[in-house]
Symmetry: C2
Subunit: 148 residues, 2 copies
Amino acid sequence: MDDADLQRFLDELREGGGRVTTARRAIATAFLDAGGHVTVDDLASTVQAAHPEIAVSTVYRTMEALEERGLVEHLHLGHGPAVYHRSDELHHHLVCEGCGRVVEVPEETLTRFASEIAERFDFRIEARHFALPGWCATCLAAPEPPPA
Amino acid sequence: MDDADLQRFLDELREGGGRVTTARRAIATAFLDAGGHVTVDDLASTVQAAHPEIAVSTVYRTMEALEERGLVEHLHLGHGPAVYHRSDELHHHLVCEGCGRVVEVPEETLTRFASEIAERFDFRIEARHFALPGWCATCLAAPEPPPA
DNA sequence: TTAGCTGCAAAAGGTTTGCAAATTA
DNA sequence: TAATTTGCAAACCTTTTGCAGCTAA
């Protein structure tokens, strides 16, 4: 993990009048160590190994605080819990409905599609908050392929 | 509502060894009357007006049975409960994260984008199960526009 | 000192499940 | 009759909330 990142997270927390506590330091560290697509539950387990007293609700509230400051973002991969990732990673996500595998696709992959939608439907697609579902090649070839 | 549709729903239920009960008839009727994008809760309320004893769990199980037979499909519009629609309406959905408005877009709107994704990422997008989030023109112009 | 956090426990939503009793075919 | 459904209640899972006590600034 990059210590500078942790520093930045904590600094930004303080800047908005927030406080840096043991829990927040531990959660931010766990998050940065994990490197993408972590659930609150993942973070809670990691953090609780060293600090069993840190509550899940604190993890929720800490991630919320980081999100308000624009440091992290959550997204929904499908059913199940939301995952968090650093907000400086601007990619979209494809999720296989068969195996759950996540494929990251660069932002600009959607550019043309998004402007088509904007033009025809007067609607600005902002597809980072929910993953695009579908089927990966492996699952398409598998014994139990997707419906239709 | 089209009586032929109800008939078809009930027939298909019977064909697979399923049974047609008072509850299922009432639920199917309520669904067809509603005409798209109904939650289980919507259906339960409608149905319970005449049959207070019909349980929500029965509505879940009935819609599941209809879905297994390919008559209906559920999709997730965002947070909140899933909605059901007839599976012969093959469109995609845009949902405004500001006001919740749902815009239906024809299947083929995604064709080019989907083949681009297929080619570049070996992944078949199947975006009917989750709506595409974004912002409608009204909310974009509103006092509190979307982040970023 | 005092606004801002924390832990805990409880609650809120949406959905699923177990089971005995009722019903359909 | 035998297999399927039902109603009810309880459980589940993720997330949110209330609140008294604690703590960073």
